[in-house]
């Protein structure tokens, strides 16, 4: 009896061991879809840095496949499906335009987890993530307000959508917190990435007297123009100091790594979920300075007292003490949005179709 028992145990052990082995040591297959070639700056490069952090964190426990240069059309559907078929367990699609393709493929692969960056549609196996980019822009506003001599700030926007408009308004709030005389004028580039157009817009701003430039587009062209003309500006998505060492005050850096790592860990532990964030534009994870999903590069080209104030604003937002959209808020044509003592909630940010005080002109319809 005892002998048999031992045999059975041994047999069971042998039978089960491969499963134990796989569950404990299996590599997690992770897929990434990039809009462009990562290059050395901007949106996709920020995701690439995130991917590198994943690699560093998990080492051989993950197997990463990436596909770059995937247009936001039928190709995206095909590539995402292919990644799913190749056994990737979690797939990060890193551009807004991948929303429908991601959802389409997710329906076909209910056991694969999908993470769509900066979209707003979710299902059981599609989670969304986004960054509170506007928090960095408030700090930019503070620095701009202290550094400007002409009191004219040139701002280059990509598209007049709420994402960009809330950034402009956050910048204006920061600006007016230190300098009530300065104003922001906005040029719409109608592109996320086009160095030529961005450079042209920067030249126009400088010709009109702006001495501080800010951008919600992706190339370092604006900073390079600023550098040539003795103006100052802020980098976007990644640290762009290398492109304009004398012009970049600091850059808001999109730090996707921690989010990616968190989600992959959840998957490994069998705890992956889409979160239960409020059902609005932001995605269920909308992290900013406080979660390190947004960081600021080193302050440079500014006196220490300005840097100190910038740091204070940064710390204030990070700790939650400083509310960027605290009342009273007025649009630039004098309409009251909220009174004193109130703060705009996240939903209201995604409904922004107006400029706050400090911005000139009107939002294009």
């Amino acid at each position: 009896m005892y002998k048999n028992f031992l045999k059975i145990i041994t047999f069971l052990c042998i039978l089960v061991s491969p499963f134990l082995y796989t569950s404990a040591y299996a590599k997690t297959k992770v897929g990434f879809v990039y809009l462009t070639t990562p290059g050395d700056h901007g949106w996709t490069y920020a995701h690439e840095l995130g991917k590198q952090m994943v690699k560093k964190e998990f080492g051989n426990d993950v197997e990463i496949s990436i596909v770059e240069n995937v247009p936001e059309g039928p190709d995206a559907t095909r590539v995402i499906r292919e990644l799913a078929k190749q056994g990737n367990q979690i797939i990060f699609t890193t551009s807004f335009g991948y929303m429908e393709p991601t959802l389409k493929v997710a329906k076909e692969f209910p056991n694969v987890k999908f993470e769509h960056m900066t979209g707003y549609k979710r299902t059981k196996n599609v989670a969304t993530g986004n960054i509170r980019f506007y928090e960095g822009r408030y700090v930019q506003g503070v620095v701009a307000g202290l550094m400007t001599k002409t009191n004219k700030i040139g701002y280059i926007g990509a598209y007049p959508i709420s994402e960009v408009i809330m950034g402009i308004n956050a910048f204006a709030q920061g600006l007016r917190s230190v300098n009530k005389k300065a104003t922001i004028s906005v040029i719409w580039a109608n592109t996320w990435y086009d160095p030529v157009k961005e450079a042209d817009a920067a030249k126009v701003h400088i010709a009109e007297g702006a001495d501080i430039l800010a951008q919600h587009t992706d190339s370092p062209a604006m900073l390079q123009i600023a550098e040539k003309n003795g103006a100052l500006g802020f980098g976007q998505s990644t640290d762009m100091g290398a492109f304009a060492p004398k012009a970049q005050l600091f850059a808001s850096v999109n730090n996707w790594g921690p989010y990616y790592i968190k989600k992959i860990k959840q998957l490994k532990d069998g705890k992956w979920n889409t979160g239960d964030g409020p059902d609005h534009w932001a995605g269920n994870t909308w992290g900013g300075l406080s979660t390190n999903m947004l960081t600021l590069s080193n302050f440079s080209n500014m006196p220490t007292d300005v840097a100190k104030k910038a740091q204070a604003a940064h710390d204030g937002i990070k700790s939650g003490k400083l509310k960027i959209f605290a009342g009273p808020l007025k649009t630039n044509d004098g309409k009251e949005i909220i009174g004193a003592g109130k703060t705009l909630d996240d939903g209201a940010l995604w409904g922004m179709n107006y400029y706050l005080e400090g911005v000139t002109g009107k939002v294009p319809k």
């Binding site: 496949s65 596909v67 039928p74 559907t77 590539v79 598209y159 959508i161 994402e163």
Partner: protein, 358 residues
């Protein structure tokens, strides 16, 4: 001194062989590049050229990718045979998609089959009208059609951008430039194969090639207008002596080419996107120029060429997924292919000799 003397007799054997040779040289130099960059050569070539055929759904997706290239390429045959350089198929594609899409969004109540049918007609008209601009300028004022058709691509891009940002923007799109989703009747559905179900994104629009290809072959090779186009292309003066109407030919080849590009746009957007967006074409109109030449301006050749180019594009994705080869590396293939093709064509048409100068 290198001298090019035209060959009197051109062998049709070499005409068929030259694309094959250029593909072979492309693969050869491609392997060299993989080797230099220390990627596994055989595995890389397998991923780029063979892996797209390794599963039924992958094969289906080749056709999905090739479909717009082939349809545009078929249209370009008319132009290039007539020696008219329509470089603006991209713009005509966009206009076709835009016109048909606008119709679908503005009149969603139209009966199902009528709706798709009208979209094809309107899409053809849209592309043809866009191509008629360089056509009219060429015929009336002798303006270079290369420049005009190319420049109109950018106008078309900005135009669709404006339309989806403004008049046709979906109010529920959170400010993003997207139109509403097409009504059901305006969507070309995926093919539900018996026993297998859906294969990749294989859709009914692809079958139009089966009709277009023989039709165009017949037109070019067996009809008088087709003959006129060929003569006009090889010798304008000869065609004038024969009494062919030069302006008419120029005008119609551009119209047909533009129209077919428009149809390609209708199919691509209706089958794969289901809504209008700022970017509907991803260089199809330009890649189709390579396809038309790679196919030796022969309709059946164009189909094969379209499949080859689509294979390389899909293979590039697979190569990156599996081996991590950047797209820029695999992207060289397309350029090399055209380069070697044109080079071999030159060798085939001209005798090259080295003459010593005194």
């Amino acid at each position: 001194m290198i001298e090019f003397t035209p060959r009197k007799i051109q062998s049709s054997f070499w005409a068929i062989l030259s694309p094959i040779i250029s593909i072979a040289i492309t693969i050869l130099i491609g392997s060299l590049i993989f080797k230099i960059l220390s990627y596994p050569v055989i595995e890389s070539l397998y991923q780029v050229f063979v892996s797209p055929f390794s599963r039924p759904d992958r094969i289906a997706d080749i056709f999905v990718k090739a479909c717009p290239l082939i349809i545009i390429g078929l249209g370009l045959i008319f132009c290039f045979k007539a020696n008219i350089w329509n470089i603006g198929a991209e713009g005509q594609f966009i206009l076709g998609a835009l016109c048909a899409g606008s119709f679908a969004l503005l009149f969603p109540e139209t009966k199902t089959y009528m709706l798709l049918f009208s979209m094809f007609i309107i899409g053809f008209a849209g592309g043809a009208i866009w191509a008629s601009i360089p056509a009219i300028l060429k015929v009336r004022l002798n303006v270079n059609e290369i420049l005009v058709s190319l420049m109109l691509v950018y106008v078309a891009m900005l135009f669709i951008d404006f339309i989806v940002r403004g008049p046709l923007r979906d109010p529920m799109s959170f400010g993003f430039p997207l139109s509403k989703v097409y009504p059901d009747g305006a969507i070309i559905s995926k093919v539900d194969f018996p026993f297998i179900g859906y294969l990749g994104q294989f859709h009914y629009g692809i079958f139009i090639i089966l009709i277009l290809c023989p039709l165009i072959w017949f037109f070019i090779n067996k009809t008088l207008p087709g003959f006129q186009i060929k003569i006009f292309g090889s010798s304008t003066r000869a065609s004038e002596f024969a009494g062919f109407n030069k302006n008419k030919i120029t005008f119609y080849v551009l119209l047909v080419s533009g129209g077919l590009s428009g149809v390609a746009g209708v199919i691509e957007v209706s089958a794969n996107m289901g809504r209008l967006q700022p970017e509907v074409s991803f260089g199809y109109g330009f890649t189709a120029i390579i396809v038309a030449f790679l196919g030796r301006l022969n309709p059946y050749g164009v189909v094969i060429a379209g499949i080859i180019i689509a294979t390389a594009k899909l293979g590039a994705d697979n190569a990156q997924m599996v081996l991590g080869i950047p797209k820029v590396v695999t992207g060289i293939f397309e350029g090399m292919l055209l380069f070697f093709l044109l080079a071999s064509e030159t060798i085939q048409k001209y005798k090259i000799s080295i003459r010593k100068d005194n």
